[in-house]
């Protein structure tokens, strides 16, 4: 059984937000919910300042704190390491959101449109039927993986190839090579969550 993971090369990201938008299109997420944000970070001091773009998503942690915090058991880890939420079981306690160090879980508070309380005809057709009062999250595009398409939408769209997706349990996979060769680091390792997303600097 594979353990899916991702490597993100920070030196390649140009901050185009194509991954952010591709994710929204693929998952039909409502306004205010971003599974794949790209954060900006300012490095250095004037006049030698550099802007770093940090693409993010759910880290699908090996020891996922959200799964442990969830009182309803709606969050679970699949055998392939992907953390998914069952919106039919979620009671909306948001304990998972408080426990996640990466801001990867999103609460869907009320049904509204991008431009006001009423949704446009396009929005009505576009947004997926997410349940109000539940928590939503990135699934590494598990619906695509289950169909045999082994690239999440964000990876497929990235024009610079900064996101690489693959099997962490396979030592010969591209992600494993990149992590070994370029010393991939996990976000907030001190939290002890063992993320499946690695960053290259």
């Amino acid at each position: 059984m594979p353990r899916w993971g991702m490597v993100i090369d920070l030196t390649r990201c140009v901050g185009c937000y194509a991954c952010t938008m591709a994710c929204k299109v693929e998952n039909g997420t409502p306004p205010g919910i971003w599974y794949a944000p790209v954060y900006e970070k300012e490095l250095g001091h004037y006049p030698t300042v550099k802007r770093l773009f940090i693409p993010a998503l759910c880290n699908h942690c090996h020891d996922a704190p959200c799964v442990k915090a969830c009182p309803s058991g709606a969050l679970r880890k699949r055998e392939d390491g992907i953390v998914v939420v069952d919106q039919d079981r979620c009671c909306g306690s948001r304990a998972c959101m408080a426990a996640c160090p990466y801001g990867a879980l999103h609460f869907y508070a009320k049904e509204e449109g991008e431009y006001g309380p009423e949704r446009t005809a396009f929005e009505q057709a576009f947004y997926k039927p997410y349940k109000v009062g539940t928590v939503q999250k990135c699934t590494f595009c598990a619906h695509r993986i289950d169909r045999g398409v082994l690239t999440p939408a964000c990876v497929e769209t990235c024009p610079t190839g900064c996101r690489v997706f693959g099997d962490l349990s396979d030592p010969d996979s591209e992600v494993s090579h990149l992590i070994r060769r370029r010393n991939g680091v996990q976000a907030r390792p001190e939290a002890g969550t063992c993320p499946s997303v690695f960053y290259l600097r």
Binding site: V67, C91, A98, H106, R188
Partner: protein, 311 residues
């Protein structure tokens, strides 16, 4: 409740305040803590607060507070009608463990007090099998006591088991919740005692006990703040917010000074060890201030939660 989360409000890698736990949660934690401590004070230390229809007032208050805490928890859920699902993950989730203990406590405590119910001068339920010191009754009281203890500490454990927020990630938080809960429950008993309904000797003992718990609680908070100040930058920022930032008024002013230091001084001035009946005003002051202090300290600790930038 808003859609999204605090991370994606601004796509900037910086410290983010937690916005999930808020004032209603502080009230939930407070009600659960004081409710559980009232029951344990009555069951373990014999701190009674009179009777209503033959039923222990301490138990009735305990039931009411834990029910209120449970209702706040349920009303805060995104799907309140699915509240029963919150019982489904006791193996890992402290909220689940706590919710189960809430129900166990409410169920058992109602059963335990029922035989004492007086209607029209008689006790129609005195013949229940667990009444009158029966083994079953004692066993039910013990289980209810364990449930009450968990009800007091589980909100603190929910926070301290959170690896995301460095300021919360300490075992001192459940201890603070435990100590402050007992202080507030004793405070309620002292208010009752100051009305003259309890013998003066009881008030002296309760006041001494309160003084000890308040001193312990103060030490726990100081240790937490000092620990935060010398660890990660984000925990230091949380401590700064509580001591000199926008949370200083509720936390430092309300939680520590008004809720702990002033009652501690009142206990010292009341001199409960001297033998005579303590001054009623000082007793009332010491008892009453622990209640808002407890609530405000929880509010401060909750709102001071900050996520550090993750990269």
């Amino acid at each position: 409740m808003e859609t999204g989360n605090s991370f994606t409000k601004r796509f900037v890698m910086e410290r983010k305040p937690q916005t999930i736990w808020r004032a209603p949660h502080a009230l939930w934690f407070f009600a659960m803590g004081v409710g559980g401590a009232l029951y344990l004070n009555r069951a373990l230390l014999g701190i009674e607060m009179g009777r209503l229809w033959g039923l222990s007032l301490a138990d009735l208050l305990s039931l009411a507070l834990i029910s209120v805490g449970g209702l706040i928890l349920i009303s805060d859920l995104g799907q309140p009608l699915r509240f029963w699902r919150a019982l489904a993950n006791p193996r890992y989730s402290w909220i689940s463990v706590g919710a189960i203990c809430d129900f166990v406590f409410l169920f058992l405590d109602v059963l335990v007090i029922l035989p004492d119910l007086e209607i029209g001068g008689g006790r129609p339920l005195a013949g229940l099998p667990w009444a009158g010191g029966a083994f079953l009754g004692t066993a039910m009281e013990v289980v209810a006591g364990v449930a009450a203890l968990i009800v007091i500490v589980y909100p603190g454990l929910v926070l301290s088991y959170s690896p995301s927020i460095p300021f919360w990630n300490t075992a001192l938080i459940p201890l603070q919740f435990l100590a402050y809960a007992f202080a507030s429950a004793l405070g309620l008993a002292l208010i009752y005692g100051a009305t003259g309904l309890a013998p003066p000797a009881s008030s002296q003992t309760w006041l001494l006990l309160l003084g000890g718990i308040l001193a312990l609680c103060l030490l726990l908070f100081v240790a937490h703040l000092l620990g935060a100040a010398y660890t990660r930058a984000t925990a230091r920022e949380s401590a700064r917010l509580l001591v000199s930032g926008h949370l200083a008024a509720p936390f430092l002013g309300g939680g520590l000074v008004l809720g702990l230091a002033v009652p501690l001084l009142a206990v010292l001035f009341a001199r409960p060890w001297a033998g005579g009946p303590p001054d009623t005003v000082l007793v009332l002051l010491a008892g009453a201030l622990t209640l808002p202090g407890n609530l405000l300290s929880k509010y401060g600790v909750i709102r001071a939660g900050i996520y550090p930038p993750f990269l």
